[in-house]
Every structure is written in C-alpha cells, then in structure tokens.
C-alpha cells in the first residue's frame, strides 16, 4: 500500500487560515491503514482546527467526511451535492486523492493534509518500510524477490557497493543492505551461482524518467 505521514498542523493552518467553510476529507484506503488520513484522523484534525479557530475568535465551519476512496470517480461524486457549502477542502488522502479531488472540483481550493511517502509493508503497527518504487519493469525474478531499486540507497543492480558492513547500509546502521538480503536469499534458494550473472543496463523509460505514465488495458476497457 501507499504510506502517508501527518503534516504538522501549523503547516495546514497556514494554508487554510483565510477560509471560513472547510471540509476535511478522509479516505478509507491506504491512509486509513497507516492511520494518517482515515475517519479517525479526520475527526482529530477537525477538532484541532475548531479549537484553533475558537481560540483565534474566528467563526469557521469545519466539517468531516470520509470517502471509500479518493482515487475513483464514483466515490468522489458522493460530495458533489455538498461541495458548494465549502470554500476549501483539506484532503487527508495520498497525493493521488488530493489531485483527483482538485481535478473533479475545478474551482475548489484543495490542500494536502498529509505527506505522501512511498509503497510499503506494515512491519508492525506504526512501522512501515519501503518495498517498491514502481519502476515499471520488475526485476524481482533475478534478485531473489528483493528489490535493489527501492531498497538499495544507490539502487545498484549489481551490488553490493563497498559500503555494506555487517549486513547494513553505509548511510545508516538501521537500514539493511539490500544486497546482503539478496545474497542471503539466493543462498537460501540454493541459487548463489546466479549472483555472478550481470544485470544489464536498466530501461528507466518505464520509471519516472519516461515522464508521466499510464497503463492502458484495452481488454478491460469498455
């Protein structure tokens, strides 16, 4: 899933302080799982903002709503009938949801309420770690299903670099060296001989380098 982290409330206040009718819009998907932008967090943020405006002596309406998803037309349509009551939306969805909301309601200011991070696993409650950068050309078959693109600080495809020490990355002793993990995994699979196969130059045109990407699936289009 995608993990997001909370934005400092001061930053949100700074963006919205001139508005008087604000909708805090949550999302019931990834940001709910990572406890940054679900119904509960919408409530917490709305209460904090109401308190802030009250202390400032300002009369500001702060409402709450959480959609099933903000990355699909059908769910975003659910607020069409109510959107005119507001002069700003703070979306607690990931950056995708923020943008899709803004695209749909073209004259409505939409502000991000979280910092969208990356694609993760939940290692334990409150700890999410990166596994994928969506490079568009998966090489996991070659690397024992451990991704050097997302998990190596230099994304070396023929690693490890000289900085791998005691299984950890040179940039931080808390970070596993992806290539140590790959070597360990190849050993476990009895495939260590594969280590000596050189990974060829990667086609990064399917990555960010190729510009904004789309997936078109004619077989599922109507």
């Amino acid at each position: 899933m995608i993990v997001a982290d909370k934005k400092p409330i001061e930053e949100i206040i700074d963006e919205i302080k001139e508005h008087e009718r604000i909708l805090i819009l949550g999302c019931n998907e990834c940001v709910t799982v990572c406890e940054a932008g679900g119904k509960k967090e919408v409530g917490v943020l709305a209460s904090a903002l109401r308190m802030y405006f009250l202390n400032e002596g300002k009369e500001v309406k702060v409402d709450e709503k959480t959609l099933e998803r903000q990355c699909d037309h059908e769910y975003l349509e659910e607020i069409r009938s109510m959107i005119d009551q507001y002069d700003a939306v703070v979306s607690l969805a990931c950056g995708v949801g923020v943008q899709f909301t803004a695209e749909k309601y073209h004259s409505m200011p939409v502000y991000p309420g979280v910092n969208t991070c990356f694609m993760v696993v939940t290692e334990e409650r409150g700890l999410w770690t990166e596994r994928c950068q969506g490079c568009g050309e998966c090489i996991l078959a070659r690397t024992g299903a451990i991704c050097p693109v997302s998990r190596c600080a230099k994304r070396v495809l023929n690693g490890p670099c000289g900085g791998s020490t005691d299984g950890k990355c040179e940039i931080n002793k808390e970070i596993d060296c992806a290539w140590q993990l790959i070597v360990d995994r190849l050993k476990a699979l009895d495939r260590l001989d594969d280590y000596e196969k050189i990974s060829p130059l990667k086609d990064w045109s399917t990555d960010r380098a190729g510009g904004p990407r789309k997936v078109i699936r004619e077989d599922v289009q109507q």
Partner: protein, 310 residues
C-alpha cells in the same frame, strides 16, 4: 600481455613490473595550482595518478578538469568516475571529453552516498552502476559504438579499472564480485585500503585459486595512518574499512609526535609483505592530503626508481 591502449599504467603492467599509482583529491575551488603542486610532489615516484571524483560526496573541482591539468604536465592520469552524479548521456560524454585529451585510464565507481557530503538533500542518479559503467566503456572502446548503437568517431582508448573491497560484507561474495567485474570488462583493480593483511591474503588466495589474477591486474590499496586518532576513525567510522586492533594499538602505544612516522613504517612493512603475495601486481598509495610522503613510502618499499616504458 600486449597493451591494448596507450596507457602508461597498462604498459608498466604489461612489461611485468609492479605498478605504483597514487591519487590526488582536487581542490574545493578553481585554483589549478593546488592540483599541479600535488602532482609535482609525486610524479617521479608513481606511474599514474588517480584523480578522485567528488569523494565523500563533497563538491570539488571536477575530476576531468584536474586530469587534463595532469595530462598537460605529461603525467598519466586515472580518471575516477562515479555513477552517482551522471546519467548515461553525461557518462559517455565525459568519457569522450577525457579521450579528446588522451586520458587513457578510467576507474569506475558507484561513489559514496550523497548523504555524507555537502549536498545531502540532493538527488543521486545511478542510471548505471559501476559494473555497467565498466561494460559501457569497454563497449565504446572495443566496439567503437555508443550505447545507443551509433558509431563513435575516434573511440576512447582507455585502460579500464574498478575498485574492489576485500573486506566489505558479505565476505562470501567478495571473490565472485571481483569475477563479475572482470566479466564486465575490468582490466585493473585498485583495492580498498588494506590494514588487515591476513584477511587480504585470504582473499587473494581465493582470487588466485579461481585464476582471476591472470585476467586482471590487482593493485593493493595502501593508506598510511597519520595518527592513532585517524586509525580509530577509519576503524569505527569509515564504511567497509577493516582496521585490526593491533594496528590501532601500535599507533596509540607510540608517542604522539612519532605516530606519523610509525604510520609510514606500518605502510612500508605492509607493502614489503604484500609484494610477495601471488597475484599482487602493484600498489595504489593513497596518502590522503599527505602526498608529500608518497616518495618516501615508494623508495623505502623498494619500488623506486620507476621503470621507463615508451
């Protein structure tokens, strides 16, 4: 072994001599005299001189410009090139630029992570890795073609090198990793600084057992310690460095004013020992901001005078 390029380093090795290389870090400014002065200190005692490429990710004068300065002085520079800062367009372009000044050696590296340097919030590139950079240069040189497939007019003539760290983890792939770099096209290797001689010799034995020493020229990396403090720093703070306790102890048991001299002694003794190790084809003496000591180390190690090759 017949040299394939006009590189002096390659010729020295091909003639069967133990090669000696050293390195200079470019200045944090545009004064060319800094690099020229460093080169003057060592030029008669080494065959070739590496110029580092923004080492430890601290921004400096570019390696290519500093290499050109050395070339104009008649030296044989080794252009260090990291994949951290350039994509495949810039890498190929800089290789051609270097070749236009007849710079005939290149060392392919991934480069320290930018978080260590003065631009910790910057991007890194890593379009290629060091292994793929080796392949790229060999492709440009041997096929005379760009990565995109077009012909290169006057292809680069470069002796292609790579780094090897016999001490980094995981140890079981340290020799396979060397084999991989050789398969990618590496012709010479400069190793990480060696202080743990036993572990290095163990690695070399595995290298020889696989016959890799016949396919690549291995230059053992030597860095003299200036003080016990430097030894402790290298041991504890520099990634991938193996400094045994006895080295730290030998320096810290030495009075402070004599530690630098003792550091040189340790370095010379190590070279003397490693000269006898099968497969060691020379030494890469990295006297960090201590270039003036290179002549003494080379002379005391019995590696002077340097051979003349045409």
């Amino acid at each position: 072994m017949k040299p394939k390029t006009p590189s002096k380093l390659e010729k020295v090795l091909a003639a069967g001599h133990l090669a000696v290389t050293s390195e200079c870090g470019p200045p944090r400014g545009s004064d060319p005299e800094v690099i020229v002065k460093k080169a003057e200190l060592i030029k008669d005692h080494v065959d070739s001189v590496n110029i580092t490429d923004n080492q430890t990710s601290v921004t400096r004068m570019c390696s290519l410009a500093a290499c050109i300065r050395l070339k104009l002085l008649g030296l044989d520079p080794v252009l260090q090139m990291v994949t951290r800062d350039r994509n495949r367009i810039a890498l190929q372009s800089d290789i051609l630029g270097a070749a236009s000044f007849d710079i005939n050696n290149i060392l392919c590296l991934s480069g320290d992570h930018q978080s260590f340097g003065d631009c910790a919030t910057g991007q890194n590139v890593h379009d290629l890795d060091s292994m793929q950079l080796i392949q790229t240069i060999r492709h440009m040189r041997d096929e005379g073609k760009f990565l995109g497939g077009d012909d290169i007019k006057r292809p680069p003539e470069m002796f292609v090198g790579a780094a090897a760290n016999p001490f980094a983890d995981p140890f079981e792939i340290r020799v396979p990793r060397l084999a991989k770099k050789i398969a990618a096209g590496a012709e010479f290797i400069q190793t990480q600084c060696i202080y743990n001689l036993d572990k290095f010799e163990e690695w070399m034995k595995q290298v020889v057992d696989r016959g890799l020493h016949e396919k690549v020229s291995i230059l053992a990396g030597m860095t003299p310690m200036k003080s016990a403090g430097m030894a402790r720093y290298m041991k504890n703070r520099v990634p991938g460095m193996d400094v045994p306790d006895e080295v730290v102890k030998r320096l810290s048991d030495t009075p402070k004013e004599k530690q630098a001299e003792e550091g040189i002694n340790i370095c010379v003794e190590a070279i003397q020992r490693l000269k006898e190790v099968e497969g060691v084809r020379g030494f890469h003496v990295m006297a960090i901001e201590w270039e003036e000591k290179v002549p003494e180390i080379v002379e005391r190690s019995g590696l002077y005078p340097r051979p003349k090759v045409d």
